[in-house]
């Protein structure tokens, strides 16, 4: 018989004690394995430094909540910021950011958040082409106009009446209108920017025609050149929830900017069994998964026009809608106007009032108002199926802006340091801090507990085998009489403990991975992101080896007792 067969026989002979000891080892190793996996994956998940975006701009408040709200789509938005923050970033900070999109939240459908944004979140060849065309157009125009306005880099004032610059400026304004029409379906902000450029061209014409103020003319020239300046006049590019992973469609197409259309995240489509062509009415405010399918607050009906492929991010669990549609919903409009009145002290009945500062777009109190405006008190009217929004842009409030910086998020974050109502955070930095201060600390405590459980398991191995030695003295003496050396007896007992440790640890690792799988599934349900529980890293393998080694060491105490067993005394004792 091999040594291993002898050991298995001995263990089987004490099956109850063996099983209980194996169970105790298994529990210790399972706990530790699960904690190590969760800790490792938690670091990756929450401490990840490679989001597709590195800037989130939102209302002043908890930075962590802003990140959780925008990255993991958990918890409600903590307030709003004026839409002007987005416009400003898109124009004044275009040298700092590669792309940016506004986000507004507040509604849900059967537990899934409606996330209002611009259609440019889905980078399409048409959008890329249009943006490129505009930038080329601007660059060409600047190349033509700049030598006329600033020959040798110095403005020539006054511009002679017969200067070709004036016809150029008029022609430029007409081009602006054509470009605006071309880009409007993808990115309303382009229209906004082009309008600003167009306005600056006209202001320059006026200044040249009427003003003798050289400084004013010079400012107008610089403003125009700035608007049409360089290859980055219009910023943009694929919005990536994960690095180099832009949104991709499993079915359908992007929503249009001014229709009640939506695009479903992959998980929403799967869970709700929805497909392109389906429609629904959204609920107002916080999501409630238990709500009946037909329960709704808003009368607007959203039509599904696209379904995204899985991105393995929380975007899989949201429904994307156009910002225009979001602001068209009466409750949102009313909340905007009321907030603007409250915070700025202007007349809420005046639609052209200035933008309100940071406050929630929607409140629970708004629910009470549903009936009175249902079907009538609309902030929009429809023309050819398109939303014509009557809410002034100045009153728009958004929950956040997500953006990708060109070089470093720090520059933009620095600009927001002095802002009274908005802040910019780097999600990776925030999550690293969160992981370091909260997750790592608590999981280290749990890991220490798991190590303690493993030590207790090792002690139980020691006690179990030690107790068995007393009743096995004669057996050991017989083995010695058959030729087994003391060292062989020592090996047998240590290996017995090792086998218990090995079986317990293997089962423990399996159970630990199972526990981690459950945790992953729970996290996936809660945050839309699971983790790789099926992978064992060096830490888990080291713990496994350590647990087996600890078991062997625990076996050493009874083994030494067996080692010193007197053969002669125990062979005659009966």
């Amino acid at each position: 018989m091999s040594l291993f067969q002898i050991i298995l026989k001995q263990l089987r002979q004490r099956s109850l004690s063996t099983i209980l000891t194996i169970l105790s080892v298994m529990l210790g190793v399972a706990l530790a394995t699960a904690i190590l996996i969760v800790q490792r994956e938690g670091d990756k998940l929450f401490g990840q430094s490679e989001f597709g975006f590195d800037l989130i701009v939102g209302p002043k408040g908890s930075k962590l909540q802003l990140v959780l709200n925008n990255v993991y789509q958990v918890s409600e938005a903590q307030g709003t910021i004026p839409y002007s923050n987005y416009s400003d970033l898109a124009t004044r900070s275009r040298q700092d950011v590669r792309w940016l999109i506004p986000i507004a939240t507040g509604d849900s459908y059967r537990g899934h958040k409606l996330l209002a944004t611009q259609p440019k979140i889905f980078e399409t060849p048409a959008l890329a082409k249009a943006r490129e065309a505009v930038n080329q157009q601007f660059a060409a125009t600047r190349a033509a106009v700049e030598p006329l306005l600033k020959p040798g880099g110095v403005p020539v004032l006054p511009v002679p009446p017969n200067s070709p610059v004036l016809p150029q400026l008029f022609a430029l304004q007409q081009q602006f209108d054509a470009i605006a029409k071309q880009c409007a379906p993808f990115d309303p902000e382009i229209t906004f920017q082009i309008d600003a450029a167009s306005r600056s061209a006209m202001e320059l014409v006026d200044a040249l025609a009427t003003s003798e103020d050289r400084a004013a003319i010079q400012l107008a020239i610089d403003a125009l050149l700035d608007h049409i300046g360089g290859a980055n006049a219009l910023i943009g590019g694929p919005v990536e929830p994960r690095p180099k992973q832009p949104f991709a469609f499993a079915a359908g197409r992007p929503f249009e900017v001014d229709r009640f259309e939506c695009v479903l995240g992959s998980e929403v489509a799967e869970k709700l069994g929805m497909k392109v062509g389906d429609s629904f009415q959204a609920s107002h405010g916080a999501s409630d998964e238990t709500a009946a399918p037909d329960a709704h607050d808003h009368e607007e009906r959203w039509t599904v026009v696209g379904i995204l492929k899985p991105s393995q991010t929380a975007f899989d669990r949201v429904i994307l809608i156009p910002l225009t549609g979001f602001f068209a919903i009466p409750e949102h409009d009313k909340a905007l106007t009321a907030m603007a009145a409250e915070t700025e002290g202007f007349d809420a009945k005046q639609p052209e009032s200035p933008a309100p500062t940071s406050k929630p777009v929607v409140t629970e109190a708004d629910h009470d108002d549903h009936d009175e405006h249902a079907g009538h008190d609309h902030a929009y009217h429809m023309e050819d199926g398109r939303i014509i929004l009557e809410v002034p842009r100045a009153t728009w409030q958004i929950s956040s802006i997500i953006a990708r910086s060109r070089d470093s998020a720090m520059q933009v974050m620095w600009k927001y340091r002095q802002s009274p109502n908005a802040m910019a955070v780097n999600p990776a930095q925030e999550m690293r801090d969160f992981t370091r201060t909260f997750l790592r600390g608590s999981s280290t405590v749990l890991l220490l507990l798991a190590i303690l459980v493993s030590v207790v398991a090792a002690v139980s191995i020691l006690v179990s085998i030690y107790n068995s030695i007393a009743s096995r003295r004669r057996e050991i003496a017989v083995l010695r009489a058959l030729g087994a050396t003391r060292t062989r007896i020592l090996s047998i007992i240590c290996l017995e403990a090792g086998v218990i440790g090995l079986i317990g640890s293997i089962l423990g690792v399996a159970l630990g991975m199972g526990l981690a799988a459950v945790a992953s599934a729970a996290l996936d349900r809660a945050m839309g992101e699971g983790f790789n529980w099926a992978h064992l890293s060096v830490a888990e393998l080291l713990y496994f080896v350590g647990a087996v080694a600890l078991a062997v060491v625990a076996g050493l105490v009874p083994a030494l007792k067996a080692y010193s067993t007197s053969v002669a005394e125990n062979l005659v004792a009966e």
Partner: protein
């Protein structure tokens, strides 16, 4: 294998502070293949003598020399580990009570006897031995399912498992009824002849001892 014992002394500490001499053998020898009975009553040092010959107990003085094929080994001069290995390879031990391992079947108990010699286990030989002792149909029986006589026969088979050169039998029939005792004795003798082993059996039973070709009165040999 021939055995030569000379000037063997073994004492134990007595509870009263003195010493008790349990072995005092000037000389004892037996030839290769010889079967010898040591006849002695209780307290005559039978078991201690066998333990000393087997290297389980170390004497205070004297030598226990095994000679075979021109080579000789004094077990008293070997280290403990070397004695254990020597015992496993050359000596088969039959106890008064079988001392079978309870979690193991009859076959496994015999195989267990082969486990510490460094040689490859020989299940066919183990089965042959069990056939020889009449337990060929009880290979998978655990000791608790066998009668006392059957258990002792398994112990005999286990002692012969390594084809030892010397079999030491300590009252092998002491716990058996006369019929079983006779059968077991005959089996031991027969198998020792079959494997070419010498047999040194201690017994207090005059009738049993007398069946071996040479009987030595332990009281005369061990002058304690």
């Amino acid at each position: 294998m021939a055995l030569l014992i000379q000037n063997l002394r073994k004492t134990y500490d007595a509870p009263d502070g003195g010493t008790v001499t349990v072995l005092n053998v000037d000389r004892f020898e037996m030839g290769d293949g010889e079967q010898v009975a040591l006849l002695g009553g209780s307290g005559t040092g039978k078991t201690t003598l066998l333990h000393t010959i087997a290297g389980i107990v170390t004497p205070d003085s004297g030598s226990v020399v095994f000679a075979s094929n021109g080579a000789s080994t004094d077990v008293t001069a070997l280290s403990e580990a070397a004695r254990d290995i020597f015992r496993g390879q050359n000596i088969g031990y039959i106890f008064q009570t079988h001392h079978l391992l309870q979690g193991f079947t009859a076959m496994e108990n015999v195989l267990l006897g082969m486990s510490f010699t460094g040689r490859k286990a020989d299940p066919a030989w183990a089965k042959h031995l069990l056939d020889e002792v009449g337990l060929g149909n009880r290979l998978d029986y655990q000791p608790s399912k066998l009668s006392v006589g059957q258990q002792q026969r398994v112990a005999v088979a286990r002692a012969l498992a390594n084809r030892p050169r010397l079999v030491l039998a300590d009252e092998p029939t002491g716990a058996l009824d006369p019929k079983n005792a006779q059968q077991v004795l005959e089996l031991i003798r027969k198998l020792c002849v079959e494997v070419g082993a010498s047999l040194l059996m201690v017994s207090h039973d005059h009738d049993i001892a007398q069946q071996l070709p040479r009987v030595v009165d332990l009281k005369e040999m061990n002058k304690t």
